[in-house]
Amino acid sequence: MKFREPILVLLLMVVGATTLFTFFHRQLAGASLAFGTQPEVLQALSASLEDQRQLARLDPAGETTYRQRFDELETTLHRLQILEQSREELTRRYELLLLGLTGLSVLLVAGGYVLLQARQQARLNRVDTAITALAEGRTDLKVGIQGRDTAGRIAAMIERTSKAMALDRQRLAALRNLSAWQEASRRQAHEMRTPLTGLQLELDRLDELLIQLGANRNVRDRLDSARQELARLADFTTGFAGFARLPEPKKRDHDLVALVAEFIDTYREAWPEVDLRYPSSEPISAQVDRDLIRQVLVNLCDNAAQAGAQSITVETTKDTSNVVVEVADDGGGVDATVATRLFEPYATTRDLGQGMGLGLAISKKVLLDHGGDIELVATSSAGTIFRLTLPRTSDTQKEATS
């Protein structure tokens, strides 16, 4: 069965070549020879020779000319006579050559066909291997087949699918990780909130008793200090609770370019010492929760400003299916010790009490909940670039929304 198709094709080629051979042979082989050696042609030449002789007799003065013509005609006649004598052999040689050339052509075409088939088979084997690997769940596959033919297109699809699978796995893993952290934070907040509330009430009652007993100022100052620490602890607990209770995004169609512009205009007032820029571009729509995306941008710009950035650029662009927002700053860059776990909760290099390291984890969760992602593109002492990716609103979705 494996050789059935090639054999059929070869058979067709041989039949085609034989038909062509027969056609050309019948049409052409010996035709020119037959024309040159027609009895009429030879008779006409012989008659012309006789004419020249007669002319020479009748006009002796022109004998030299007639003799010259006679010799020329005689030479031609002899050549044609020799061709006539060799006609059979000439035709046979012609047929042999034609047959040889036809055979050679068939061999070359057959060889080329077999090579192409072998190449195609090898390509299909690679596609087969890649499909099996894809079915086994392997991601980031490289099939290694180029071209616009069917095999090439299938290979490209396999590579795209495996990339998408890899991305989905990363997102799922990140979501699971963040969900685990959220659950832990929720429990911690819950466990801490009740004793904190009780402790605050006890401190309030103690403050009232000290006033009634006329305690001196020094004792009350210490009590105030304890209350401040308790308030800071309450803030932390609120932070835990906020991370644990991140709301589901309420997505609506928004122009991301306008959203970024509006955010920066607002943020400029909060951080007047930072130069904020946003290159203008055409509107790009996406289904987003406006407040949550703003929170993400606040987190990134806060981090940049706290890292000493003098300038922050937020650029909004698009590719075939996504809106891409890049936030680039000229701050001191991300510390190498936390770069690999940057989007995990509590990953921070700040001093205790200067932040819980929840901002980027919350940003990651927000982007993943939008079907997008956030990634650290580059970081060095010259600055940092974060890239936010969000699915674009397609024209169909726009029409459905409107």
């Binding site: 050549r79 006579q81 020799i82």
Partner: protein
Amino acid sequence: MRRLAVVLTLLLAAATSRADLGEPTLELGQGDRLLVTNLPAIFDDKEIAEHLTSGLTTTLVLTVKTSLSGATKLEGGARITIRFELWDEVFNVTAFGSMGPLQSTVLESKEQLTAWWRSLRLPVMAVPDGEGIRGRAEITLDVLPFSRSEELDTERWFSESVLRAEEGRRSGVSHPTEGKESLAEVLDILIATSIRRRSLTSYSWTSPWPEGSTP
């Protein structure tokens, strides 16, 4: 059966016709030269007669072979060229023996040609000294329709004609190709070189070795 009978009759008639021509004789000439004499009157053969006056150089190649005892093989030959001058209507004939050109003459009619042919004593080989042995020799006469030079001239003309035609097809102007050899030209040359002299007809006889010869 009837068809077989017809074929056999025709073969017999052909053999009888050949036999009617007579047989050449071998003689020992001066200087121990083996001579072929009494050449049969082949010019009455219709095919040869028509060809003789075509103007082409008819070449008659005579070969004598003998296998004597002691595994000694002897072979010799002679050649006769006959060209009918179409303008003057005369036969230019030249005979070449084993020693080179024998005679060259102009004959005015076919009868003279036949008489000259019949009178020829063609030396075909020098008989070596040795033990006297009796035997028979095989004499073959091949009639070639044209000469080697006419063959080469026609080959060249045929090739040039084809090349001129191809050049004309390519450029619309007909002129011979100089120095360029494409595959098509090679193929044309291969076809042109298939112009070869082949016997118009052949005769063969066996003749007794001449008495007194000592091959």
